[in-house]
């Protein structure tokens, strides 16, 4: 059902963990959908230096979290904002149709962490929006 890439990132997830005093932290999803993602970013000089995650969720949720952290490290904040669920899914060689929504969560967690960074530092970036509480409330 899952591609080899997905299984690799699921069974050996990169960047699991927390970052103390992270530049930005974002949590999205809720237990009702069965997926919760928390993303930690360290950003220095507008570059993402480090990314960590914790995820409660299915194989696809964990693999996309892992892949999203890999993709974001080394990017400028502007570049990071442009990382889409599509990019994450493609980097994983695709997901089964019923699991595609999990990749949305990875994108949203990233955006939420970047938003957190931006608000804390009083910055504004084009294309970066406040995470919607309605869809995936933090608990």
């Amino acid at each position: 059902m899952y591609s080899e890439k997905v299984m690799d990132h699921f069974s050996n997830p990169r960047n699991v963990g927390e970052i103390e005093d992270a530049s930005g932290v974002g949590q999205v999803g809720n237990a009702k959908c069965g997926d919760i993602m928390k993303m930690y970013l360290n950003i220095e000089d507008n570059i993402v230096k480090e990314a960590k995650f914790k995820t409660f969720g299915c194989g696809a949720a964990i693999a996309t979290s892992s892949m999203a952290t890999e993709l974001v490290v080394g990017k400028t904040v502007e570049e990071a904002i442009k990382i889409t669920n599509k990019a994450v899914t493609e980097a994983l060689d695709g997901l089964p149709p019923v699991k595609v929504h999990c990749s949305c969560l990875a994108e949203e967690a990233l955006q939420a962490a970047l938003w957190d960074y931006a608000t804390k530092n009083g910055l504004e970036f084009e294309g970066l929006e406040e995470p919607k509480e309605d869809d995936h409330h933090h608990d």
Partner: protein, 392 residues
């Protein structure tokens, strides 16, 4: 890698003896049982003998046994067949919140077509009571459908008592016994059921074969109209090898039944005790005693079930989270929610269902691997992180 199969509620391997019984009817005795000529007689006899053998096991008459393409068709037929009856006294159906989708989706379909359905609540163990059923009966009630045992949490319903209520009020009573048949002795008269669904592939028999038992005198419309097969009540050329295989599987199920049943029950209890002892923040779902001999269903807090399954699978252990049939869905299992689990626990349950070929070594392997797997997922879980932080 040595593979361990712990998902017998999803489906079971067909036994060699069942395949052997079916083999002559594939390429050799292929005649249509409805034909007059000689070569078809052996097929007609095979169908008749199978029906008689199944009837005897269930305490029924041969002409009360109808072959279907599986448990799902049997459930659909029972419910829609009663509902479609002309001159019915009403349009109200009583069932429960924890039925299989074959029953639930059929009832929902009927609701969209003008029927009224009461979905009874269950208690924290997944049980309804005969009193609840009786209280729900109206003048317009035409059918009561309560599953014999739940496919996810293994809870066994008080079918005999519900059957008495149904009989008292003269309302047809259907039970989905698809999961129960391999684990419980079933006698249709003792249970007071009028309609009972079975499936072949859950008892080491063929896939795509099921039975609807219809008590003599129970009037219901066909679901599948066609030729004169099954005495005009279910059309379609008979799947002769499937029928023979199903009868054989049922016979084998009840050969040395008590002995096999006791062993499986012991293994189940060993696993329940072992897992609850080894893994913290775990709970057994379903009832401790009123439980299928081969089912354990455990929720592990802070983790999600599919990930556990994948990690177990990497160790060669096949299990399930909720019903295998619904794995395409993203919602938490309706059964878990009905017994009152919050969503995150509902998502974090796994089901282990044993078969007669499982060994104690396999059980021990699970006990050895599971705690670390759960811990590994917890270490990755933001919910666990919150929990630990709150404890500090």
């Amino acid at each position: 890698m040595e593979r361990i199969y712990f998902d017998h509620a999803a489906t079971t391997p067909m036994k060699e003896e069942v395949l052997d019984a079916m083999m002559p009817y594939f390429t050799e005795n292929y005649g249509n049982p409805s034909s007059v000529y000689n070569i078809a007689q052996v097929n007609r006899k095979a169908v008749d003998d199978s029906r008689a053998s199944i009837a005897e096991i269930l305490g029924a008459r041969p002409n009360e046994i109808f072959f279907t393409s599986g448990g799902t068709e049997a459930d659909n037929w029972a419910i829609r067949g009663i509902a479609a009856r002309k001159g019915r006294k009403g349009n109200h159906i009583i069932t429960t919140k924890v039925e299989h989708h074959a029953v639930l989706h059929t009832c929902e379909y009927l609701e969209r077509h003008g029927y009224e359905v009461t979905y009874l609540d269950v208690d924290e163990y997944g049980l309804v009571t005969a009193e609840q059923v009786e209280a729900a009966i109206k003048d317009t009630t035409i059918l009561i459908s309560v599953m014999y045992a739940n496919n996810e949490i293994g809870t066994i319903m008080p079918i005999k008592e519900i059957g008495e209520v149904a009989k008292k009020h003269d309302i047809p009573f259907h039970t989905d016994a698809v999961q129960a048949i391999g684990q419980e002795r079933i006698n249709v008269d003792e249970l007071n059921v009028d309609l009972l669904s079975l499936s072949g592939h859950k008892i080491n028999g063929p896939k795509g074969m099921g039975i609807l038992y219809i008590r003599r005198g129970t009037r219901l419309c066909p679901l599948i109209h066609g030729g004169a097969q099954e005495r005009g009540r279910r059309g379609g050329t008979e799947n002769v090898p499937g029928i023979v295989g199903l009868a054989k599987a049922l016979e084998l199920t009840y050969a040395d039944f008590d002995n096999k049943n006791r062993k499986i029950r012991e293994m189940r209890d060993y696993l329940i005790d072992g897992i609850l002892k080894e893994v913290p923040y775990a709970r057994l779902n379903g009832h401790r005693e009123k439980r299928l001999a081969n089912n354990l269903n455990i929720s592990f807090e802070f983790v999600e079930g599919e990930s556990l399954l994948l990690l177990l699978d990497m160790e060669g252990i096949a299990a399930s989270s909720g019903s295998a049939c619904t794995s395409g869905s993203l919602d938490a299992s309706h059964v878990m929610l009905a017994i009152g689990l919050p969503h995150e626990k509902a998502h974090g349950s796994i089901r282990i269902t044993l078969g007669e070929t499982n060994t104690m070594e396999e059980a021990d392997k699970l006990l050895e691997k599971l705690p670390a797997i759960v811990q590994r997922m917890r270490d990755m879980s933001p919910l666990y992180e919150d929990f630990i932080n709150n404890k500090k």
